[in-house]
Each structure stands twice: as structure tokens, then as C-alpha cells.
Amino acid sequence: MRTVFRGESISYGYDKHQLILKDVSITIPDQSIYGIIGPAGSGKTTLAQVMLGLERSSVGKLTWFNERINASTNRRVGYVPYKKSLLYDLTVYENVLLFGRLYKYSGKRLKQQVEQALQFVGLWEDRRSRASSLTAKEQQLLNIACGIVHLPDVVIFDEPTKDIEQDMREVILKSIRQLHELGVTIVYLSQNADEIEELCTHVGIMQQGNFIAQGKIDELLEQHHQYCALVRLQLAESATKLQAELGEYNICDVEAQAMVVEVNANGEQEIQRIKSILGDKLLQMDVVNPKLKLMYSCLMNRSGLSRYASQPTIH
């Protein structure tokens, strides 16, 4: 497997006693869409900044394209930060042009790339508008154009759909998919498990500055299934009423008359126990393959971080 980035035992913090990243290791395969998911403050953005060399890790080894991080490896990486990092006093065209120029492109080639980037995100018609006069959605598209104008091999997206409406979210995710189809490796940071599952081939789940699970999404779900099965309980009564009776279990999802419960490694025994607790109130029980969102929620609950993870939804 060819890799574009390999980081081993990365630690980073503003001081030795308050580490934001703790012994993080990550390998990003070529041509993959690698999702990094975690609650706010888990260290996703810091990890991206360390990967880019914007912050220097105190310990650890980082390589991009099998080279130590340097100016030429940085030129092969694009970054679309969470904050819309633009030159707000300039026009759309000038923004993309000046960011392209930073990567030592010039003349006709640069102009072509600027046009391509703006056409790609659909802002070519607005090229004469000031960045400050654009809507939040358009600014996010410009943010993306500025990150891809130098034709990078890898693009790191830091929560590009956060605070963005559903229709625009689709446009952004489509653009990211198109980039991937063009052969670009994507690193996608998000708090949204559904988005990661929909978009990514690989995922790393972050919690308090380290990965608690990493790998191909399918493999991870399979692996998770073995030691942490989820069972869907079809109930005769309201699920919210019966929640208390299963208080000792992690309840990942609650619907009107159904709930998804996590059972531990002693799966068969646990299933029998649930049956005996619920008795006649249990109509049906099915073992389900966990979706990433549920797996993420269970892993966070297991780590005692349920308050950070997605809360069970009541339909």
C-alpha cells in the first residue's frame, strides 16, 4: 500500500503537562479519503496543523510522500481550514491568484489554474466580486478554491460543511468527491459521522488527543461488531419508558417503540439477560451491523465521553 503521509508517535502541546496530541500515529494511504472524526477539542485541527508543519510536534516523526516535511512536500498539499482564511479586501479572482502565486506559479499557467479552480467551485462568474461581499456559502467555496489552486496531491479539509445549509453541504461533498476522482487524496476532518461514512474510505476516531480506532471503515465496523455488538429491540411499549430498565446498558439509539443497545463481548449471555429483563415487552431482537455513527457513539460512551458524542436520537 502506497502512503502519502505517515506520522509516528506525534505529541504536541503548549506545555509538557498539557498535551493536545498524545502519541498519535497515523498512516494515510494514497488515493484514499481519510476521515478524522472526534468531538470538539479532541485535537483534529491541531493534528492537521502538525501534519502541515504549521505547528511543530515536540516528539514524533512525520513524513509526506516518504520525505521529511519540507517546503517542496508542502507544495503538494492543500489546506482548506475551518475558518475561511481569505484576503477579504480583495476580489475572488485576486484571492485565488495570490494564493496560487505563493506556490511559485506565474504567468499563463497560473491564470489557467485560477480559472480551473474557480470553475471547479462554480465561482468563475463571481470572480470580480469582493471576498467580503460573498455569502458564507460562497466564501466557503472560495476557501476551497484557494486550497486547490496549486493542484495539490493531497487536500486537508477541516470541517468544510460546519455551519452550512444542507443544499450547500451536498455541493461541497460533491466537489470533494470529484477531486478524489481526479486522483487527489483527501483528508476530511469532521464531527459528523454520517458525512464521514458517506464520503470516506478510511476513518480515524479521535478522543482526547489520540486515536481510539483507525482503519478502513468496513473493516472497522466488522471489527467493532465482534466485540461490541448492537442489538435492535422491537418493543411492545414506548422505548423511552423502558430505557430505565436497561439502565446498565449503553443505549445508542432510541425510536418510538424500538431501541439499539450495545452488548459487550459476552454477547449471548447479554442477549439472554436483556430478554429476561424485558420479558413480554420485547417483541423482536435483531443483531445489527453498526453504522459508523452508532459505533462512534458507542466508542465515546465506552470511554465515558457520552456527553461529547452524538446523543441518541428519538424519532
Binding site: 503548549y14 508542502n74 482564511s85 479586501d89
Partner: protein, 239 residues
């Protein structure tokens, strides 16, 4: 020099700001000459120091132009393009230097040609003034950017910058001759780089003569101070 080019191009697009940056020092020098009507070396020194003081205040307040870049992390994105923090900061400081050297040159030309003020300085002495002024600018821009990086709000950045500008320009003897300061303050101001620049200007206008050693000391002091400030700037992490 991509960052330097980026910021210069960006500045050229902001025509109103550019005109203000040139007109303000010209207006200040015109007013100073009208008020003081200099006729001998000491008054020339006061005028030149005051003009440098006004330029330093303008320069330090211009560091606020970088506040929005910090706020939106645009500076980090630009830094990504050059990779080295040293190179990035040197190029940012170079932008300020380019602007301030143009400002000082325009003011000196304006004073000579329009206001008829002929400073009794040779080309070498002008170059030494320019060198001292450049080093002072590196120090003030560096301190200004550190202040902008170290504060959490725009208002606190402004307050800090105004305080630094006042300490530098007033206590350092640029806007007010240090002889006119209270005696208690005079010994303290000797540690300010602006004070060293006023001394350099004074030595050059009164004739270097036996003050060559002192002149060299002040210039070395300014250089060391500029280097320390640049090191601090590179190590500063934005709040």
C-alpha cells in the same frame, strides 16, 4: 519573496490607504516646519526626530492591518506557502520597511524641495540615518506584531499598540526632546531604542567628530535589539 510580493500587491490594491500612508507624514512634516521654523542644527534634529516619531507611530498602528489575517488564520495559510516561519516573518517585516523607507525618503525630498529645509547631512550621513531608522522600524514592527499576536481582541490590540507607540515616541524623545522630560524619567528612557535613534540623529547633525564610538555603539545596540525582537516574533504563538 512570495509573501512580500503578496502583501505589496495587496497594499497597491488599497489605494486610499496608500494615499493616506504618504499624505500623513507629508502633512506632519509641513506642520512641524511651519510651527518650528528651524534655522539651526538643534531645531533640525527636533524636526527630523519628530518626523521619525510620526512615521514610527503610523508604522506601529499599521501592524493592526494584520489583525484580520490572524483572526481568520489567513496568515497560517500564507505561511503554509512558504513553509518557514523565519522567512514569512522576515518578508512581512520587509513590507513595512519598504513602506516606511519610501515614506521617510518622500518626506526628506518634500522638506528639501518644497519646504526649503536643507539638512546639513552628507550622503553617508543620510545613509546612517536611514540605517538607524530601518533598524528602529524592525524593532517597532516586531513589537507591534508580537502585540497583535499576543492579545485576544481587536480593542486590546489597539490599546497595547497605542501604549507602545506613546512610550516609544514620547519617552524615547522622538516627539519631545528627552531634555524636556522629568529628571526621574531621563535615566530610564536611555534603554529605549527610539532614544538611541535620537542620539544618532543628534550626533550626525552636530558632526560625528569624537562621537564615532558612541555612534557605533548606538547602531550596534539597535541591530542587537532588532535581532532579539525578530527571534521573539518567530517564537510567538498567536493567542
Amino acid at each position: 519573496m512570495q509573501v512580500f510580493e503578496l502583501y505589496i500587491r495587496r497594499l497597491l490594491k488599497r489605494r486610499v490607504l496608500l494615499i493616506m500612508l504618504l499624505l500623513l507624514p507629508l502633512l506632519a512634516s509641513f506642520l512641524l516646519v511651519q510651527i518650528l521654523k528651524p534655522s539651526y542644527d538643534l531645531e533640525y534634529a527636533v524636526i527630523l526626530n519628530s518626523i521619525i516619531g510620526v512615521l514610527i507611530c503610523i508604522t506601529i498602528s499599521n501592524t493592526m492591518l494584520f489583525y484580520s489575517d490572524r483572526q481568520y488564520a489567513t496568515d497560517k495559510r500564507i505561511l503554509l506557502g512558504v513553509h518557514s516561519k523565519l522567512s514569512f516573518n522576515c518578508q512581512v517585516v520587509a513590507v513595512f520597511l519598504a513602506v516606511s523607507i519610501i515614506q521617510l525618503s518622500v518626506v526628506i525630498l518634500f522638506s528639501n524641495l518644497v519646504l526649503g529645509i536643507q539638512l546639513p547631512l552628507t550622503v553617508i550621513e543620510y545613509s546612517i540615518v536611514l540605517l538607524a531608522y530601518t533598524l528602529l522600524n524592525i524593532i517597532t514592527v516586531g513589537i507591534g506584531l508580537i502585540a497583535v499576536n499576543s492579545t485576544r481582541s481587536k480593542n486590546s490590540s489597539w490599546v497595547l499598540l497605542i501604549m507602545i507607540a506613546l512610550v516609544f515616541a514620547v519617552l524615547g524623545g522622538l516627539l519631545l526632546p528627552s531634555d524636556q522630560l522629568p529628571i526621574i524619567v531621563r535615566d530610564v528612557v536611555a534603554i529605549l531604542p527610539t532614544y538611541w535613534v535620537t542620539k544618532v540623529v543628534g550626533i550626525l547633525l552636530n558632526g560625528i567628530g569624537e562621537h564615532l564610538y558612541a555612534l557605533a555603539n548606538y547602531l550596534i545596540g539597535l541591530t542587537v535589539c532588532a535581532a532579539i525582537i525578530m527571534l521573539l516574533l518567530i517564537r510567538t504563538k498567536p493567542e
